[in-house]
Every structure is written in C-alpha cells, then in structure tokens.
C-alpha cells in the first residue's frame, strides 16, 4: 500500500489530498495534506508517516505559518481545523479543555455566557489554540495574565513515533512530573503535535477604562511606561503604538475591574500620564494589531524582546539602525512587558514591497547587537524567502546544544517540522 492509500484509510478520502501550491509552508509544497478529526486519527497518520519516513508539518488557521525558517522538507501537512471542539468547560473550576483547531474567537464566544475568558489575545485573525501554542503568540493582556506558559495547565501530544502522551492535567496546581507542556509552547511543531490543551481561565472583568496619551519621544514613552509599572495600578495592558518615528507615538493603558475600581484606576493612570491623557471606554482602532502584514502593512515583521525598562534604548536603536539602511518602521509594543513588534518597509514607499533583502538582513543583525546589552533578542516573524536566506530568523540562542539534545530524544529522525526552529532544529 502506498502512503496516500494508507492516509486515506486513516481519515477517509475526502480528508486527504495531494498538496497544492496554496498549501505551501514558506515556499515548500507538501506532498499530502490531511485533515484528521481526533487524537486517534492524528496518531494513526503519524504512524503512517513514521513507516513511510514522511516529514510532517502542521497548520491551524495558517495565521502564523510563515513563522520560523522554511521547513527542510515537508511530505505530510496536517490541517487541524476539523479538530475544533471545546471538549469540556468546567466553569466552577475555571478550566477549559479544547482541541487544537478551536479558534480563539469561537472560544471567547463560548466562554462569554459564564463571564470567563482564556486570557490570550494575539491579534492574528482566525488564530487557533494549536497555533497560539506552537508560536507562543500573545497580545496586549499579557501584561496582567502572562502568556501561554502561564495559562496552559495540561496537554496531550503525539510524538514522532506515534506515542500519545499527556502531561499536567485539569487542576491548576500540579507539580507531579515534568512540565512537558512548556516545551511545546513556541516549539513550532518540532517536538510533535499538540492534540489537546487544558487552560486555566479568568473571570471577565465587569468594567474597562482606557487611558491614552500622546508621546513625543522615546524617552517620554520609556519614562511614562516606567511610572505606570512602578505604580500600584494593576493595568491589564500597557501598549505603545508608533506608526512613524517622524510623528508622535501613543501610549494606551487599559484598566479593568468592577465599575468603581476601574474608574478610580483610570483616574490615577491619567494623573500619572499627565496633561493630555484621555479616558474612554473603548480601545483605540487597530488595538493590539501587528504593525506589518495585511493588505497595506509592511511585508517584514520583527519581534524584539528585551528587559522591560529598556523601551527607550530599544526604540532609539531601532530607529537609528533602520534609518541607516533606509527603512521605514512601524512599532507596536507591549511596553510594560518589554516585547515590541516592528514592521519594516522601504523608506520611500511604506507599501508591501519591503526594502531590499540585504538592508533588512543587515538591520536585523545590527539591531540584535544593539539590544544584546538589554538581554534583547530579535526574531524575524514574517519575511520573504530571500531575507530568510540571508539571516537566521531566530538569531543566536545560548542553550541551543541542549535544545538539540531534546529534539533528538523527542524526534530522533527529525521528521517533525524539520529545519523550522532555532539552530536548524
């Protein structure tokens, strides 16, 4: 029996097909695309792949498929959109168990009647639970609630050899055995497939206030950010939007809670931010969106992480380096958390084309050096292949040899999303 026939046997002919150009992952077209409906089917597909030596990739809503390096090879692409069930919502325990293809938007709607939320708000349209785990995607509310690593409490995975393993469970407090789930967060599928996830939930606050202020310089942005984070306010988010260094930036603080609590916090926040601060009930347009991609945004997207107090030097370095290479920048920072997203485009034309690959690669490399003193890292989230050929999208990683040893144990034949991760993993 050939591989295609075996795949058909697992999940039915209608859910397996040869790959087409539209299925390409970063330019690599898979031989087959299969859409399994359960952990069991995934396991069976992985066993077929094992026996036939197929290299396996995975996609949720494709919102972050361009992340990482192009796969070194891709024979079987698993599409998890059929695995979109919320399996259990234990409202009294503030826990939800879901399949990886569940979209965050759908989950939000489903939890809303219980006034609960999974406090993850990455902006990528259609983002799925599996994609968010694989890419460690986060949004503005990470300031208060943390990221996937703070919310994921249990996981089911299928390893390259077909082993189905669980770790953690459905209680928040649990230290039995290794926290295997952490390894799968941000691993872009290189350790196997996540087929079920259990998250802790948070109550949806009754009221929200949004405080915004214009900032003229990176120094102001840094100073005000520090004022807020050093205060006794408990903001849900603290975001900086700076579409063009020639103009001003805008700092937005979101506070939530019961009605009088949110009001009081908003007033204190406005007091801290000084003259010009405005209080409203709604977040500004384009809230939390990435400053790249889409129809009109720049084609190159970076994520810069650094010490939270280094906002000013990070912005200064970015603008200086980009200017040197004639590139325009658009920045959105989760300023309170030290994480900034950057769109890079050609200076003369901020349109889709992006600058010449060499200039972009040089910018990334120089920016890495400039933010290194602040424990900084620069990851290229989105870029055309010609840029990825010039620069390692992940950059240097200190414990990469240890990471390779982990990969070798979990996937000794290197068949799970090979080549996409740090150090060629």
């Amino acid at each position: 029996m050939d591989a295609l026939a075996s795949l058909h046997k697992v999940c039915g002919e209608e859910h397996v097909r040869p790959g087409a150009a539209a299925d390409a992952v970063d330019g690599v077209v898979p031989a087959y695309v299969a859409a399994p409906a359960s952990t069991d089917e995934i396991r069976e597909l992985v066993l077929v792949a094992r026996d036939a030596g197929l290299r396996v990739g995975v996609r949720g809503a494709s919102s972050k498929l361009g992340w990482g390096m192009p796969p070194a090879g891709l024979d079987l692409l698993l599409e998890l959109s059929r695995q979109d069930r919320v399996l259990e919502h234990a409202a009294g325990d503030l826990v939800v168990r879901v399949e990886p293809g569940v979209r965050l938007v759908a989950l939000r709607e489903q939890l809303a009647p219980a006034r609960q939320q999974l406090a993850l708000d990455p902006p990528e349209p259609g983002a799925t639970v599996g994609g968010v785990i694989g890419a460690n995607a986060s949004g503005p509310s990470r300031l208060l609630y943390g990221t996937a690593r703070d919310l994921l409490i249990g996981i089911t995975v299928v390893l390259a050899d077909g082993t189905v393993a669980r770790a953690g469970g459905k209680v928040v407090k649990n230290v039995a055995g290794y926290d295997i789930g952490k390894l799968y967060i941000g691993a872009v599928g290189t350790l196997g497939l996540v087929t079920e996830a259990i998250f802790r939930l948070h109550p949806v606050p009754a009221a929200r206030r949004v405080v915004t202020v214009e900032v003229a310089t990176a120094a102001d942005a840094g100073r005000l950010t520090q004022l807020v984070t050093d205060s006794q306010l408990v903001p849900t988010a603290l975001e900086l939007d700076w579409p063009d260094p020639a103009g001003p930036g805008r700092l937005t603080v979101v506070v939530e809670g019961i009605e009088p609590g949110a009001t009081a916090q908003a007033e204190s926040a406005a007091g801290l931010l000084g003259g010009g601060a405005e209080i409203t009930d709604t977040v500004p347009a384009g809230w939390g969106q990435r400053p790249y991609g889409g129809e009109t945004g720049p084609a190159i997207g970076l994520k810069v992480s650094a010490e939270p107090a280094a906002l000013r030097p990070v912005l200064d370095a970015l603008w200086r380096v980009a200017d040197l290479h004639h590139l325009a920048t658009a920045v959105r920072s989760s300023a309170g958390s030290g994480v900034s997203y950057v769109g890079l485009g050609a200076a003369a034309d901020a349109g889709r084309a992006g600058g010449p690959a060499v200039e972009i690669a040089a910018t990334v490399i120089e920016l890495r050096a400039a933010v290194a003193p602040y424990d900084g890292s620069v990851v290229v989230l989105q870029a055309p292949p010609e840029v990825k050929r010039l620069v390692d999208v992940w950059g240097p990683v200190p414990a990469v040899e240890l990471m390779r040893r982990i990969k070798d144990r979990f996937d000794p034949e290197h068949r799970m999303s090979p080549g996409r991760f740090v150090g060629g993993i």
């Binding site: 407090k173 649990n174 390894l183 009754a206 006794q232 408990v234």
Partner: protein, 495 residues
C-alpha cells in the same frame, strides 16, 4: 543501597574525595560519616540515607568542578538547598555526593526598574522580599517555610504558597537561571527579558526536582506591593458551608489573593499550639484575603463578607491592622507543626482536586477516617483545591504508622479519581514515585523520561526520584499499538 560493582569499585569514592579536596577549599569537602549524617534527610525525616561525600559549594565554579568530577568518576549526586522539602527530594544517595548550596547565599543584583532580582540558589525565600520591601516590592511565592527554604529549592519544587491562587507559583516568577548540567556544562536559560527564542527549557527545568541539573543563579520577578490588602476570618459550622461560600466568591468573578480553610481538628491543633483565638465552636474556618487597588478591594471585600454570611458564617472578623492580619495567618501558617500538639506523629499529605469536588472529597476522607480509625486534620488552599490532609498516628503503637500511610495513600487515590493530582506543591521526590504510575500512563512517563535523558543520559543527577522505575536512556520506549490506556479504561472522558 546496592553498589553496582561494574560502575563503582571500592576506590572510586575515596579517589573522588581526594580529587574534590585538591580542587576545592578544604572546608568544602566532608567525608566524615558523623558530619555527613547531618544531611541524611530533608523535611521528610523518616527516610534517611547518609551520603558518602558532602560538598558545601560557595561558587558556581565549585558546583561545576564538583559535577564534572562526579561525571568523570560516574558517581551520582544530589543537590540540596535548605533541606525543608517534604517529599524526600533531597534524600542523598549512599554512594554519591550531596551538593549543598546554602553557602551560595548572596543576592547578586536588585534591578527595580526591570522588577527583577538575581540571586544565588542558597538565598532564603524571605530574604528577597526583605531586601526589596523598602522600595515597595516583594517576591510573590510564599511557601509556609519561607523563613528557611531556599530559592534553589523553590525552583526545583515549583513551590507555591497561600497567595499562588492569584499570583501563580515559582514557575510564573522565574525568568532566568544559570544551570550546571549533569555533565558539568553551564547553560544560561532565559534572563531578565521574556520570550527568548528556543524551547522554554527554563519552564521545564522549574519543578524538575533536582533531576535535570543544579541551578547556580536564579533571576526572579519582583512584584509591586498592592495598594490595599484586606483579610477576613470567618467561622462556619462545617466545611460544607465554608466551601459553599468559596464557590460563591469564585462564581462572582472575584479572584482573592488567598482563600485558606481549616477544619475542626486543624483548628483545635492550632489553638493548642499558638492560641490564635479562632471563633469558638467553629467546624471550619475560612481566611479570605483580597489585595489590589484600594477601590477594587473595598467593594469586592464587602461582597465577600456578604457571601460568607449568606452561607452561614456565624462570626466574621476583619483584620483592622497588620497585627490582626498576622494573627489570622498565624494559626494557618503554623498548622503543620501545630498538629504535633494533638498527636505524637503525623504525615503531611499534599494532593489536589478540582475545587468544585471539595465537599464530596472531604466526606470521602471523613468516611475513610471513620472506617480506619485514623484521624485526619484538614488544612487547605481552598481556592485551588490543594488539600493538605494531616494524617495523625502514634508511632509507638505497633502498626499505626502503616495504617496512617495507607490512609495518606488512599487520599491520593481519591485525588486521582477526581481528576486531580498527587502533589500540588511538595513534589513527587522519593515518597510519591509509586503514585506516578497511577496518575500517568506509561507513555506519559516515557515522554518525561525523554526530557530526562536529554539532560542526564547516565541517570546520575538525583537518581531514584520522581519516576517509579529507573530506566536506561539507551532503551527507546517500546512502540505501542492501539489506543491510549486512559481511553481504553474510559478515563479519557472523565479527564
């Protein structure tokens, strides 16, 4: 312990001791049996093993040297912080080296703008908060042992505390670590920033109970002191009523900083030990603490008070100041030791259940106690379902210890049955290895073992802990056909 003649011959340990003495300051290496015996156990004192060699390390380089020399001679080693662990995690190996970090006790850096502190592993938990309190900050994980336990131990156990309901555990408050791997290599994991590219190895290291290497430096997150803290203590007729109050508080969307409960027997013990003056005749006492922005706390606190009354609280006290608050907590924080007043011996159990199963599980424990005649006092983190049943016995009466252990074990089986965990904060260590196979299926344990083998292929780093049966890293787990055993047993649906 059996000595494996093919690995260690009689000269191995004396030669290793000589090498260690040559490489380290003389005061750092102990081989005298009486001296080494000081370290024979941790907080779980009924398991004892005297290590062959104890090394009192003072620097990261000394840790590295010691671990390298152990690797060269094929000798196992165990890290130890303050030795307060309650699962035997720091239990030494007889033919091995115990590496004690308590002399590595400097706070290396306090970085207020970044809300971080960089500390050595032997630094005591509470020292961090003391150091940064004047600037208005604190280190959130607050195990009851915080006066004595070390940050290295906290990292290894992923320790929690009363306030982890709202603020999370050690894993949520550690952003970086330097770790000496079992082959002696020093790696840097994370740092002051977050979201470092690569696998979240730091996340997997935290809570690995000393089996993946030795942390020589830890970067922790500092939290800003909340603007307001309000604490109440409520007396109820029984745990059902108190539990119902907790359910209502959580359902209202309130996330208290802490919700702690004690039952009648635990109250009796605390009263005898520290005279905390809890409401007379209470069958259960609830401590609820809210913190955060003042306006938020004031409003929610009134709600909590109302919910306690509505669910039958016959007395509610509100802490007027820090002294009263300390008094409320005194009874709770001394509960483990206090039980010594009402029973010659006791076992501290640590299990977790979904919070909503609290009242069912407590009646199961009461029934178990009734059937066996073994008394159980209950103290727990009611907000997250982390139970600490204290199983009382008299070691001088033959067989009582065995029966107490059976009851403590049966309680864990109940936790597993309800989809919970065999440990919420004390770790698996030496004590609970045999329960791992009940909570997890073989493939789950095999997968954890893959991680272990990536770090420690020779199995020399804290061997014999966490996992029920030691496996060699060469053997690849057998390929399995068919469904996951949990599904086969119908358990997947329960989960």
């Amino acid at each position: 312990m059996d000595r494996d003649a093919t690995i260690l011959d009689v000269m191995t340990l004396p030669v290793l001791a000589a090498r260690l003495r040559a490489a380290l300051p003389a005061r750092a290496v102990l081989t005298d049996h009486a001296q080494c015996r000081t370290y024979e156990c941790d907080g779980l004192a009924h398991f004892t093993v005297t290590p062959a060699i104890v090394v009192l390390v003072e620097t990261p380089e000394q840790v590295q040297t010691t671990v390298r020399l152990c690797a060269q001679s094929g000798v196992p080693f165990v890290a130890r912080g303050s030795g307060t662990g309650l699962s035997g995690g720091a239990l030494p190996v007889a033919d091995g080296v115990l590496i004690v970090t308590s002399r590595m006790n400097s706070i290396l850096e306090v970085d207020i703008p970044n809300h971080r502190a960089v500390v050595e592993p032997g630094v005591i938990n509470l020292w961090v908060t003391r150091e940064v309190a004047p600037q208005g900050y604190y280190f959130a994980p607050d195990p009851s042992s915080q006066l004595v336990c070390s940050i290295g131990g906290n990292v290894a156990e992923n320790s929690g505390g009363a306030h982890c309901l709202k603020y999370g555990f050690t894993t949520n408050h550690v952003t970086g670590a330097k770790v000496v791997l079992p082959d002696g290599e020093l790696v840097t994991l994370g740092g002051k920033a977050t979201d470092h590219p690569g696998y979240d190895v730091l996340g997997a290291f935290v809570g690995s109970e000393g089996t993946l290497g030795i942390a020589t430096e830890v970067t922790v997150r500092l939290m800003r002191r909340p603007e307001a803290v309000q604490t109440l203590l409520a007396g109820f007729a029984g745990t059902d009523e108190a539990g119902a109050a907790v359910s209502e508080i959580i359902a209202a969307g309130i996330v208290p900083a802490a919700v702690e409960m004690m039952d009648a027997l635990a109250i009796e013990a605390a009263e005898a030990a520290v005279h905390c003056g809890y409401p007379a005749g209470a069958g259960a006492v609830l401590i609820v603490e809210l913190d955060g922005p003042a306006a938020e706390v004031a409003h929610s606190f009134a709600d909590v008070e109302r919910m306690c009354s509505a669910n039958g609280a016959f007395e509610i006290r509100i802490a007027a100041d820090e002294d009263e608050r300390t008094l409320f907590w005194k009874g709770r924080k001394s509960a483990f030791a206090a039980v010594g007043r009402i029973s010659p011996d006791y076992l501290v159990q640590d299990g977790v259940i979904p919070r909503t199963a609290l009242s069912e599980v407590l009646s199961r424990i009461a029934a178990l106690s009734g059937e066996t005649g073994v008394r159980v006092a209950n103290v727990f983190h009611a907000g997250d379902g982390n139970l600490h049943p204290l199983v009382l016995f008299d070691g001088s009466v033959p067989d009582q210890d065995v029966r107490a252990e059976a009851v403590a074990g049966a309680i864990l089986d109940i936790c597993i049955e309800y989809g919970g965990s065999i440990t919420g904060e004390h770790g698996v260590g030496h004590e609970k290895r045999k329960f791992m196979g009940r909570m997890y299926a073989e493939p789950d344990l095999d997968t954890m073992q893959l991680l272990r083998c990536a770090f420690d292929p020779d199995g020399r780093c804290n061997p014999g802990k966490v996992f029920p049966t030691p496996r060699l890293c060469g053997e690849l787990p057998a390929r399995r056909k068919g469904v996951h055993p949990w599904q086969e047993a119908g358990l997947a649906e329960v989960f």
